[in-house]
Amino acid sequence: MLTAILALSLLALAFGLLLGFSAVRFKVEGDPLVDKIDALLPQTQCGQCSYPGCRPYATAIANGEADINQCPPGGETTIIALADLLERDPKPLNPENGEVKPKLVAVIIEPQCIGCTLCIQACPVDAILGAAKQMHTIITDECTGCELCVPPCPVDCIDMVEIKKDIMTWKWSIPDQPPSATTVQPS
């Protein structure tokens, strides 16, 4: 009887120590759910979800403050991916946040630029190069197409253009799906 109690207490102590040690040693830094959600977002940083960037939106989703259908650049793909991750039902994009548009990229009409730096301050990803009273230009490869630089421009010299399809970005499309076995008519 006494041996049994002793043995069990010792075991409990040993496992307690092990668990306590693991809790300290293998502590997870930060909220892994936020990181997982953030990894699914398109990182456009456009703020159309009403949060100031993708990570704040991810935090809001993780805290249950925001819904999963507020990201227009991500569109349906992102909503489905988020629904999968959070085990919720996918729902259509909230029209209040905007609509799905083709991928755009900002272009500065350089002769019209007055070098006011307002767009540089607005760009969430530092994709605009320039200095005060010097012409600015967009680093196209780094532009996310968020359109945040368009409203601050006092001379309206920023255009959003569609990304041109070329042979480097072209891809094969999926073939027409064969009809299912039940719908095939014998010929």
Binding site: A127, E142, K165, W170, K171, W172, I174
Partner: protein, 552 residues
């Protein structure tokens, strides 16, 4: 295992060497259709009035033009330079004037336009200065590779991978075997066959140059047994070199695929996601070695190639030696004696080629065949559902499970396709060929591969955007903190200054008051002394002080 007769011709006698061959899984035997285009000797294409040269004829970065509109160029002159490690330059195939540098249709499955340099030829065909190398053995492998790079040589078998990279496997990778690929397993195509028949010396010399660049121990020339003439002519040309073995392999599609050929000749299997050089083998196409010979021994860059024009819609199928940039229209007309009538135009073979949207397209470095087919006689294939018969898995030369890949790629489950090794698929088309339901399987794999690449590119871009966004946030917070700290410091300094000033002021006032008091006192003492008419002694002074203080 199959044994094949590999002949090494001695000076007079014929020594027959038995070489062991291996087999790969699957493969198919599509109808050959090779005889049609091998009846006539290779025709040298007439000099066209206009040449259109796409800047992107190879795998890698597009070339960068070094000429302007209006410039006069000579044959073989560099007109666009390579722009990175995996890139290749473009040369003028004939002398003439640059008339445009703009977007033109190019032979590509997308049917999109791309940057091209357009030359109007002057008919003189005048060569630019070019210096042949007398003895290639005097050049170092590195110098050889440089010359090959500058000559714009890419894999002419159809892939278009820059050849100098293939010849640069790195120091640690000991290359034992150099395989010269003269298999040409795809139906209809005969340009390598004709090249082997007509230019065996060029091929063997090019092979020796490649061997010198690679320090390979032995060379194997592989030719399918449906090309006996080519086998004979190459055996004769290679007879002087005992390290070159000409091997006949049994006809089987897709034996010309590099990894399958390595397996057949050496028995070594190239690992998944690996390259042939990981098993100590490098494979080169016969057309490429002929181009290497021309680049080194004649000093000529890659400006022409052998290509087949064939198909049941062509009146006189044959092979051409054409300048790169020649319009396909020009060639089709020469073969049909007028406007050709066809339903389908394909670049490459029927198994791996792709449909062209027009015939007004230039021949590029990778154009090995133009196939014009009339499909009136065949009814259009109806795609039926997959019945899970497994014929595709039996035919797959890479040992994949095509029906699983089809299932996952048609359901857009890209992760699963990668689990089933989608990227080991060589897109040979054996699975589609044997499919009883006529499912275009390869198209699904191409779609899935493209989608995965696009997703990966997007992910990279998103990661970059995230990084830049986060570093900007950090910077903004830091700036704010720095600004706050600066303001605080300034405020403190200002406050400190006023405090000291106030303190100083008070002290001055007190001092002034003390001074004023003592002055007044001094004056009073003086006045008292004057009144007494004598100079006071220290004791008296004290007394006077006391008396003074007592005075009202």
């Amino acid at each position: 295992m199959v044994d094949s007769r590999s002949a090494t011709l001695g000076d007079d006698s014929t020594a027959i060497m038995i070489r062991r061959l291996w087999k790969f899984n699957g493969g198919v035997h599509p109808p050959q259709h090779k005889i049609e285009s091998t009846n006539d000797a290779v025709t040298t294409g007439t000099l066209p009035k206009r040449l259109t040269l796409p800047l992107h004829q190879h795998i890698g970065e597009a070339a960068d033009p070094v000429v302007k509109v209006g410039d006069k160029v000579l044959k073989g002159q560099l007109i666009a330079r390579a722009t990175g490690y995996v890139s290749s330059p473009v040369h003028a195939p004939s002398s003439g004037t640059i008339v445009d540098i703009d977007e033109y249709p190019i032979p590509h499955p997308s049917g999109l336009n791309a940057q091209c340099i357009v030359i109007d030829t002057d008919g003189l065909d005048e060569w630019a200065d070019h210096t042949p190398v007398e003895n290639f053995r005097e050049l170092s492998p590195s110098a050889l590779r440089n010359t090959i790079r500058e000559a714009g040589i890419v894999g002419l078998g159809g892939a278009g991978f820059p050849s100098y990279i293939k010849l640069n496997p790195g120091h640690d990778k000991g290359i034992k075997t150099l395989i010269l690929n003269g298999v040409e397993c795809e139906p209809y195509i005969t340009c390598d066959d004709m090249l082997m028949r007509e230019r065996p010396k060029h091929i063997v010399e090019g092979l020796r140059i490649a061997r010198h660049a690679l320090h390979a121990e032995e060379c194997i020339i592989a030719i399918e047994d449906n090309k006996p003439e080519a086998f004979k002519s190459l055996t004769a040309a290679a007879s002087k070199h005992d390290y070159i073995h000409v091997v006949q392999v049994p006809t089987l599609y897709p034996q010309g695929s590099e990894k399958q050929l390595v397996k057949v000749l050496t028995g070594k299997e190239v690992p998944s996601n690996g390259l042939c050089l990981h098993v100590g083998v490098v494979g080169i196409n016969v057309g490429t070695t002929a181009a290497i010979y021309r680049a080194i021994c004649l000093g000529e860059p890659l400006i022409s190639r052998f290509m087949t024009v064939t198909g049941n819609a062509i009146l006189k199928p044959r092979n051409f030696e054409v300048l790169i940039g020649t319009s396909m229209d020009h060639l089709l007309e020469q073969c049909s004696g007028g406007e050709p009538h066809y339903d389908k135009l394909i670049m490459g073979g029927p198994m791996m080629g792709f449909a062209l949207h027009s015939s007004r397209l230039p021949v590029i470095k990778t154009t090995n065949c133009v196939l014009a087919l009339s499909t009136v006689s065949e009814p259009p294939a109806t795609v039926m559902p997959c019945i899970r018969c497994g014929a595709c898995a039996d035919a797959c030369p890479v040992n994949l499970l095509p029906q699983q890949l089809y299932w996952y790629s048609s359901n857009k489950d890209l992760e699963k396709t990668q689990e089933y090794n989608l990227f080991d698929c060589i897109e040979c088309g054996c699975c589609s060929y044997v499919c009883p339901s006529k499912i275009p399987l390869v198209q699904y794999y191409r779609y899935a591969k493209g989608d995965i690449w696009i997703k990966e590119r997007e992910k990279e871009k998103a990661d970059l955007a995230r990084q830049r966004f986060e570093s900007r946030e950090v910077r903004i917070i830091r700036r704010k903190a720095e600004h706050g700290a600066r303001r605080k410091k300034k405020k403190e300094r200002l406050q400190g200054k006023t405090a000291t000033a106030q303190r100083d002021n008070k002290k001055a006032q007190i001092d002034e008051a003390i001074k004023r008091v003592s002055e007044r006192r001094d004056k009073a003492v003086e006045r008292a002394n004057e009144m007494r008419g004598k100079i006071p002694s220290p004791e008296n002074e004290n007394k006077t002080d006391d008396s003074n203080s007592k005075q009202p």
